[in-house]
């Protein structure tokens, strides 16, 4: 069973998820103010402006915080064993919820402040999930 996927139509995040098909991690900026906007939406939450630009992130950042989930009753996660959910602060200035993967033991190997880079996990639907692994 697959993990829960983003669902469409959902116009705010559709461009973000479309770009994941090409393994591009996109975020928005307000060119007038320089504000970085994430999660994606039609307007800036700082000014209400709708003149926003999409930019591509390098996919490198730092773990802001995390937790290792030992118990999740959803079947797709229950079969994973302990896994790390996290907020990662990207170097471009946005914070994304994600999973930290590519570690031997998430309990001991994932720490606040470690450097991470994006690792794409392709999904059956064609989109890819931006997970992160130690850089």
């Amino acid at each position: 069973m697959a993990r829960p996927q983003p669902r469409f139509p959902e116009p705010d995040t559709q461009p973000f998820w479309d770009a994941t098909r090409e393994h591009k991690l996109m975020y928005q900026v307000d060119p007038a103010t320089g504000d970085v906007i994430f999660y994606p939406r039609r307007h800036s939450p700082y000014t209400g402006s709708r003149d926003l630009e999409w930019r591509e992130s390098k996919g490198e950042g730092t773990v802001y915080t995390h937790s290792v989930v030992r118990l999740n009753r959803h079947p797709s996660f229950a079969q994973l064993g302990p896994y790390a959910v996290a907020y990662v602060d990207l170097d471009e200035g946005f914070r994304i919820m994600t999973n930290i993967v590519g570690v031997e033991n998430p309990v001991t190997d994932v720490k606040i402040g470690i450097r991470v880079k994006v690792r794409w996990e392709d999904q059956e639907s064609g989109i890819a999930l931006p997970m992160f692994e130690p850089a």
């Binding site: 993990r3 829960p4 996927q5 983003p6 669902r7 469409f8 139509p9 959902e10 705010d12 995040t13 998820w17 970085v36 994430f38 999660y39 994606p40 939406r41 802001y64 915080t65 995390h66 937790s67 290792v68 989930v69 030992r70 118990l71 999740n72 009753r73 959803h74 797709s76 996660f77 994973l80 896994y83 959910v85 996290a86 907020y87 602060d89 200035g93 946005f94 914070r95 994304i96 919820m97 994600t98 999973n99 309990v107 606040i112 402040g113 999930l129």
Partner: protein, 397 residues
């Protein structure tokens, strides 16, 4: 103290006594609690002219609840902001009564979360309800509600050196209070708790890890339950059966994850100064602190945001004062046994008002001697993603 406005008071309360209530519906619990809370106040069913509801009933709750109860209220308020909804309702009831729009406000809550076997803390958290920008960015990651709060705990530990033992002390004090409350003991019995007795910090930190760094005993129960609160105008309160518990101050706020934001600061940092300011009361004057304990970390963060101590000094504050009903200094915390050990059917905010009122009437099973001032602080939603904070300052005559 002269500037304190005493225009609305809690005059009637009821906490539904069971945490496992087979055969009851949420509406049954709401209606029974309403009748008993009105009786507690010495008021009649037909006296209610303000209806406040967190949309826990079916359909359009402001309409369907009025119809089901049989009320024709002048004020209908269906603010639904999660577990803190009842602090928001108390805030709005004070405003509406002060403005002359109603005289007898009724808040009710009913839930059968336990009997429905709802996996609130460990559910998959995904693919439910209509898609939104928020759900599309959160659903794929398997972030359970417990891991959401655990992410705040990790960050608090990282920034301030808080330890699992520090968090555990909150659970220890709360369990001690629960053991003095027969309804809490019955709750833990009915919900098949192991080791229904006072616990030690070691037992808390050695209990099963659910989502690092939160252990089983850092987490609240999932129970059935509910209750009701009657808030009345000064004129009505004068003739009620029980002494009035005045709402001196109220504050409401939201907080959500932002780029570069500090997850260790909650909405309480905004709502509390508003409430204390309106009440003209300082945190160090508070006798009883009813703080939403979905998890131990929730209390740790809120103690700081309510102004009992500076941000990052919560652990030292808990160590110094103990937070028991009989601690010689500092506030008594969650003297009913809290969500951790007495009652958490999903939205605990109403129980904070109930136990604060019992304390200011001198009716608690863990009575803080001479309690004059209490704070009830509710937290709704999810601490690490988006949440509300509602702060209410209460006083006896």
């Amino acid at each position: 103290m002269v500037s304190q406005q005493r225009d609305a008071a809690i005059v009637g309360i009821h906490e539904y006594p069971l945490r496992k209530a087979p055969g009851m519906t949420p509406l049954h619990i709401k209606a029974e609690s309403a009748e008993r809370a009105l009786a507690d106040a010495g008021l009649k069913w037909s006296d209610v002219d303000g209806l406040y509801d967190a949309q826990d009933g079916p359909g359009m709750s402001g309409l369907s609840l009025a119809e089901y109860f049989g009320f024709k209220p002048n004020v209908i308020d269906t603010t639904a902001v999660g577990g803190s909804s009842y602090e928001f309702h108390a805030s709005h009831a004070k405003r509406d009564i002060a403005g002359g729009r109603c005289k007898v406000a009724l808040l009710t809550y009913g839930s059968t979360a336990h009997s429905d076997s709802r996996a609130i803390g460990t559910g998959g958290m995904g693919g439910v309800g209509p898609a939104s920008a928020m759900s599309n960015m959160q659903d794929p990651w398997g972030m359970t509600l417990i891991s959401n709060y655990a992410m705040v705990a990790h960050r608090h530990m990282h920034q301030y050196g808080t330890t699992s033992e520090d968090l555990a002390r909150i659970a220890v004090a709360t369990r001690a209070h629960a053991m003095r409350n027969p309804e809490a003991v019955k709750a833990m019995t009915d919900l098949l708790y192991e080791n229904i007795r006072e616990v030690t910090t070691e037992e808390v930190v050695n209990s099963r890890m659910v989502a690092d760094p939160l252990h089983l005993l850092d987490c609240c129960m999932v129970s059935d339950g509910g209750g009701a609160v009657v808030i009345a105008s000064r004129d009505v309160a004068r003739d009620c059966k029980k002494p009035p518990v005045w709402i001196l101050g109220a504050g409401e706020a939201t907080k959500y994850s932002e780029n570069g934001g500090d997850l260790t600061v909650s909405a309480g940092a905004q709502s509390a100064p508003r409430a204390f300011g309106q009440a003209d009361v300082r945190p160090d004057e508070i006798d009883v602190a009813m703080i939403y304990d979905s998890f131990t970390i929730t209390v740790m963060v809120m103690l700081e945001d309510l102004g009992f101590c500076k941000k990052g000094e919560g652990a030292a504050f808990v160590r110094e004062h103990g937070l028991r009903f009989d601690s010689p200094t500092g506030p008594a915390l969650n003297t009913d046994g809290g969500g951790l050990s007495s009652n958490h059917p999903g939205m605990r905010g109403i129980f904070l008002l109930l136990e604060a009122t019992r304390q200011l009437r001198g009716e608690s099973t863990s009575q803080r001697q001479g309690a004059k001032l209490a704070v009830a602080h509710g937290n709704g939603g999810m601490l690490a993603t988006s949440h509300t904070g509602g702060t209410i300052i209460l006083a006896r005559d």
